[in-house]
């Protein structure tokens, strides 16, 4: 399989050494393995470097507004439950401006597959602190070190009600691929946090970033639960109400 068969609008604008392409490649291979009909797949993204994925993926692809990708995706999924809807967001996108939407989508356990490109920094806007920036880390907006505590994305997703939760990195590409397949086939709100690198804004060489990711712990699947999914529940409701005497 050639990954390029599923891409359009190249060349991309990502920096050399950026992790985004690794995630995109893993996603395309995982999608192939999943057996999902390409005509029934919709990819939705927000704004930021990660948001650009929908400009390159040759599926139905919706590039939305900053932080709101999950809400658009919720509308798409409810409008046509046959669709497999995948949402790709950055850490700032998903957890700062979109944090509210993230927890509520998880709470609903709506059938969406969420891939969070977590490089713990705002890449596109110039390297500012994000909700996953490590304590004391220096960024454009924390020149003296970050005073805030980062989110633990896995804990957050589980607490909010996601029914499949995994963490992986762009070093562990095979594992990432496998996890995306699982998430795609999971019925319910599935979240994969992918620790990735932004060499440009983290000001670390790509090879060093990959080395750091090798040692990230813990990675793996942290939650996998069968639980009635939101859209299914809604469809059941429609069935029961429709048969009710008006």
């Amino acid at each position: 399989m050639n990954v390029k068969d599923y891409l359009v609008n190249l060349p991309h604008t990502w920096c050399a050494g950026c992790g985004n392409g690794i995630i995109l490649g893993a996603f395309i291979r995982a999608f192939k393995k999943s057996g999902i009909d390409k005509d029934k797949l919709v990819v939705v993204s927000g704004i930021g470097c990660s948001g650009r994925v929908t400009q390159y993926l040759n599926f139905d692809a919706v590039h939305t507004t900053h932080g709101r990708a999950l809400a658009f995706a919720t509308g798409i999924k409810l409008a046509n439950p046959e669709l497999k809807v995948v949402v790709m967001m950055g850490d700032g996108d998903a957890l700062a401006i979109g944090g509210n939407h993230f927890i509520h989508s998880a709470r609903r356990n709506i059938d969406l597959t969420v891939i969070i490109f977590n490089n713990s920094v705002y890449g596109m806007t110039g390297g500012q602190q994000s909700p996953t920036t490590q304590l004391n880390a220096k960024t454009a907006t924390t020149p003296y070190g970050n005073l805030e505590n980062p989110f633990n994305v896995v804990d957050l997703a589980i607490a909010a009600g996601a029914t499949y939760v995994a963490r992986c990195t762009t070093f562990h590409v095979k594992k990432l691929e496998k996890s995306i397949v699982e998430a795609l086939l999971h019925k319910g709100f599935s979240v994969i946090e992918v620790i990735t690198g932004c060499p440009t804004q983290q000001k670390v060489k790509p090879a060093e970033l990959i080395k750091l990711q090798k040692n990230i712990k813990p990675i793996g699947v942290f939650k996998k639960e069968e639980k009635e999914e939101f859209v299914d529940k809604y469809l059941k409701l429609v069935k029961s109400v429709k048969t009710e005497k008006l």
Partner: protein, 341 residues
Amino acid sequence: MTRMELVQGNEAVVKAAINAGCRFYAGYPITPSSEIMHLMAKEMPRVGGVFIQMEDEITSIAAAIGASMAGKIAMTATSGPGFSLMQENIGYAAMAEIPVVIVDVMRVGPSTGIPTAPSQGDVMQARYGSHGDYPIIVLSPSDVLDSYVLTAKAFYLAEKYRTPVILLTDEIIGHMRESVNLPNIERVEKNMPILGEGRKLHYTGLANENGFAIYEPEKYERLIKRLFNKIECAKDVISYKIENPDAKTMIFAYGSPYRTAKAVLKIAKNVGIFKAETVFPFPERALKKASKDVEKIIVPEMNVGKIVNEVKRVVGDSCQVVSVTKLAQLVDPQAILKVIE
């Protein structure tokens, strides 16, 4: 078949929406629009449509836009503060050319204001609320029947021109009950390719051609001009009604103050009304024509005087334009009669 029934303004919006084919509602509770949401929660499942209560108004409109892309005729409803939160994605719908209907049951602002009192304070927000340059359609009913007819028109225009359409009602119209004979309305059809048909559609809020970003100023200008032309050159967007066209004094009214204008007409002689049902695009040509022999135009509004500036811009020095304003309550006929003398 039609028959007389007692209907509330907010209820008329729901009835029209469902009859026009709306099958997706996403919203967040807010006074004085909540009845729309309550009824939608009840009715949508019954017609096989989708109702969802979202976590805020930002996501309500986002979900409606998403549903529209995926094939549903979709809407949301709110009031002032929620309307402000929706502005970001109203711009998105304008740029990505996605049909969606937004109902703003106006209340007194700014901020929390007086949540239970009527206002027309959002009229310029409806036109210019999102960032950047974009066209939009804003319709404004004056009674329950209007709420029904113009809601249906909102869906028709949204789908036909692939654009957000705003229906501006207010606390008075939303909560008022009137005995009406609701006409049949035609079901609106989806007029665009939808997600899930294997077309590899690309949507983006970036300036774009077929969903792919463009950066050249010339291309951008062409795009924005096309978006404006789409709405402004359309023949079926602008609707208005003129009463007593030969009168020397004309009341230019939209929304609830039209009711005041009607009351004035019963008392005063030689007074006409220009009732704007479409507020934006502003009915420029029609007003110019209608005001040719008019000496005075009175513009009653439930705000500090907003649309009056549009009227002034259009008629220029050709006649006198007088603003009559009332805040947090309906304009009194006496206030208009006073300036007629």
